[in-house]
């Protein structure tokens, strides 16, 4: 779960990390008022859960009220690589003397925590690592170890902080580590951590976190009251919300074939099969969603799943791919029939085809149920490749008929 900058700031502030003053605004008018409070010049920063917001033009400097409002108006409707801007953070503009990069993340390879830092911050760390590999400092923290003040100070020295900055940098590193641990984060990144102030007045110089990115471990939500304080109802896809409420893993994509299966790997594989089939048949057809019904799904779960998938108006056909391990294909078949019956009562014109492939536990019984129902919407395929081909061809055909 990726946090917005304004949310990440809250967590860092709770751990005593110094940041410029900021006010959150959800409209351009509010942004103007916020800018008046902060004072000029100020920064107008679009809030989206993705990096490189600056390069995308969602972070600008305003010199006066009119500029602040105009910039907010331009930034609010933006969408950066599929991540919509949800609001504006108006912050003090700082006089930047130097930029550093600091991050702590879960290292999947060494199975511990990775502290990464460089004295040439400001841009994406991948760029820094490529262009200035010699400037990158790394430290691994073992899951059985702790990262204490002394370790933080040693790291700060290695990064290249000196004099008065050294103590503050160590303090910030320690604050980041505590943020990481206390919040069950998988990433805490400050970029840039900037040395700011009047170049001619030592007393004004200090380190400020000018931007932050934090990702939280979704599996740890139970320890944090479900992270209710970070949920953002405006940003949730309605279909994803409906599926989540039913305990299903659903990801909305933009194709025409709804995909339902059991197990994350098999469902991903089914999406690839649909995309591959569209490509091979020269048809502009792709997967409309990812939906994993999980292990041991009941008829009710299958019924809800079809309901969610079919409520996407872009869906023209559905592929159901189940390899029964714990899951009984017979129960899945019952769910499919219940969903088709219920939907038929609601909308008799809905004839979007459902292609089913079963294998494993009670596959024969499940297929038998479907065949006996004599539902023209239901098609049966022998293999997952065949199911993908059929679902793609049917979606293409439906598209031609309706002119969609």
């Amino acid at each position: 779960m990726d946090l917005y900058e304004y949310q990440a700031r809250q967590l860092l502030a709770e751990h005593g990390i110094s940041q410029p003053r900021a006010v959150y605004a959800s409209t351009a008018e509010e942004a103007g008022q916020a800018a008046d409070i902060i004072g000029y010049p100020c920064m107008i920063k679009g809030q989206a859960t993705i990096g490189h917001r600056g390069q995308a033009g969602a972070v600008k400097r305003a010199e006066n009220h009119e500029q602040a409002v105009a910039l907010a108006e331009a930034i609010l409707p933006m969408n950066i690589d599929g991540h919509p801007v949800s609001g504006i953070l108006v912050t003090e503009a700082r006089n930047i003397l130097h930029e550093y990069y600091l991050s702590i993340s879960v290292d999947r390879t060494s199975r511990d925590y990775d502290v990464l830092a460089t004295a040439s911050g400001g841009t994406e760390v991948e760029t820094i690592a490529r262009e200035h590999p010699e400037s990158v400092r790394r430290l691994h923290i073992g899951p059985l170890e702790d990262f204490d003040r002394q370790a933080a100070r040693t790291m700060a020295e290695r990064i290249g902080f000196y004099h008065a900055d050294l103590e503050q940098a160590a303090q910030i590193l320690l604050g980041m580590w505590h943020t990481f641990q206390d919040s069950d984060a998988t990433l805490v990144e400050i970029n840039p951590l900037a040395k700011v102030g009047d170049p001619d007045d030592e007393a004004t110089k200090h380190l400020d976190a000018l931007d932050a990115k934090i990702s939280l471990d979704g599996n740890a939500a139970f320890r944090h009251d479900g992270w209710k304080r970070f949920t953002d109802p405006a940003q949730v896809d309605p279909l994803e919300a409906k599926a989540k409420a039913a305990g299903l893993h659903y990801v909305h994509l933009d194709g025409q074939v709804g995909v339902i299966g059991n197990g994350a790997g098999l469902v991903m594989s089914s999406l690839d099969a649909v995309a591959g089939s569209g490509h091979r048949q020269g048809l502009p057809i792709g997967p409309a969603n990812f939906l994993d019904i999980g292990g041991g799904a009941s008829p009710e779960v299958m019924r809800t799943s079809l309901d969610v998938v079919l409520s996407d108006p872009k869906v023209r056909s559905v592929m159901v791919n189940v390899y029964g391990g714990i899951t009984s294909c017979q129960q899945v078949a019952q769910g499919i029939l219940a969903a088709v019956d219920a939907e038929g009562e609601q909308d008799q014109n809905d004839d979007r085809p459902i292609v089913v492939r079963f294998d494993g536990n009670e596959a024969a019984e499940g297929l038998d149920l479907l065949t006996k129902a004599q539902q023209p919407r239901l098609k049966v395929a022998r293999t997952m490749e065949e199911a993908a081909d059929q679902a793609v061809a049917l979606a293409a055909q439906a598209g031609k008929e309706t002119g969609r």
């Binding site: 599929g82 511990d112 690839d272 714990i326």
Partner: protein
């Protein structure tokens, strides 16, 4: 030699008396796994009946903790079905009781808890498999032997043969086992779909490489992290046996978690295309569908005169 666990080795189940634990203990027992103990502090002293592979009833006692279960049964293997919020305590308890193989089926464990347990296990010479995995199944090399089923991999999909299978996904494991059932396996190991796992793809390949009965490997990966690339780099210089791979998630969008906690492309890293490219660069063939992967495996086995 034996892969991961000896035939007939005694096994305990943590969380046996819960719903999932009961269902899967019954199925592991029916498959012939020698389950001698359940662990649950609140139900210590009770006994649960299951049917063995011969249809005879087995009485499985429940112990207060892993140490007591180990002392009474000499089991040094545990299968864990406890819910996520208790999983860390369960794993630590097993490690401290001297359990040497812990198979964790539980999905949804915080990564910090897994990281802690995996580090502790490695320090104590204990192997964790998983979490968030279907477990592992070995096929016996003895006539009428039953092998060991630790976890939720269904019985009867495939039997003994020359292949070793390692996978991040449960249902794709069953799918490939089904596609290659006429060839068979020495063992099938689900490493799990979490960002940090106790046994990596590389470690699974190392085990298969050491096992003289395994002649070739099937590796099933998915988006997220770089476990497949690391395994491939190691294999390119150390593996003496051919490998065929399958990667799921070519159509997965950036920044979206695809079911598994670890199945996420972040900052452009962990894509299926990147994994395929690295695997192919070291000569590992990658199928575009499970069906094609099975065909490539058969071709490779013929090429190496294994079948």
């Amino acid at each position: 030699m034996t892969l991961f666990i000896e035939d007939g080795a005694p096994v305990m189940v943590q969380g046996m008396t819960g719903h999932q634990g009961m269902v899967h203990t019954a199925h592991m027992m029916a498959a012939g796994t020698n389950i001698l103990a359940g662990v649950n502090a609140r139900k210590a002293g009770m006994t649960v009946d299951f049917d063995g592979p011969d249809g005879q009833t087995r009485h499985v006692p429940v112990y207060a903790d892993c140490a007591a279960a180990r002392q009474a049964t000499r089991a040094r293997t545990s299968v864990v079905f406890v819910p996520p919020r208790f999983a860390k305590d369960a794993m630590v308890e097993a490690i401290e009781a001297g359990i040497t193989l812990i198979v964790v089926i539980t999905e949804g464990i915080p990564v910090a808890d897994t990281a802690y347990c995996v580090a502790l296990a490695r320090e104590r010479g204990c192997r964790i498999v998983g979490p968030n995995c279907p477990g592992l199944m070995t096929m016996s090399d003895r006539p009428n032997g039953v092998g060991v089923d630790l976890g939720i991999i269904p019985q009867g999909i495939a039997g003994r043969g020359p292949l070793g299978l390692v996978s991040k996904s449960g249902t794709l494991t069953y799918q490939l086992m089904g596609e290659l059932s006429s060839i068979g396996f020495t063992a099938c190991l689900g490493i799990g779909g979490d960002p940090i796992v106790g046994t990596t793809m590389l470690e699974a390949l190392q085990a298969f490489n050491r096992d003289p009965e395994t002649k070739a490997c099937v590796m099933i990966g998915e988006i997220g992290g770089s476990a497949e690339q690391e395994a491939a780099h190691w294999a390119s210089t150390h593996m003496t046996k051919p490998i065929v791979a399958y990667i799921a998630g070519f159509t997965a969008p950036e920044g979206k978690q695809m079911g598994h906690a670890g199945a996420i492309i972040s900052g452009g890293k962990g894509t299926a295309a990147d994994k395929k490219e690295v695997l192919e660069s070291v000569g590992i063939k990658v199928g575009t569908t499970p069906g094609e992967t099975a065909r490539l495996t058969r071709d490779l086995l013929r090429e190496h005169a294994i079948i």
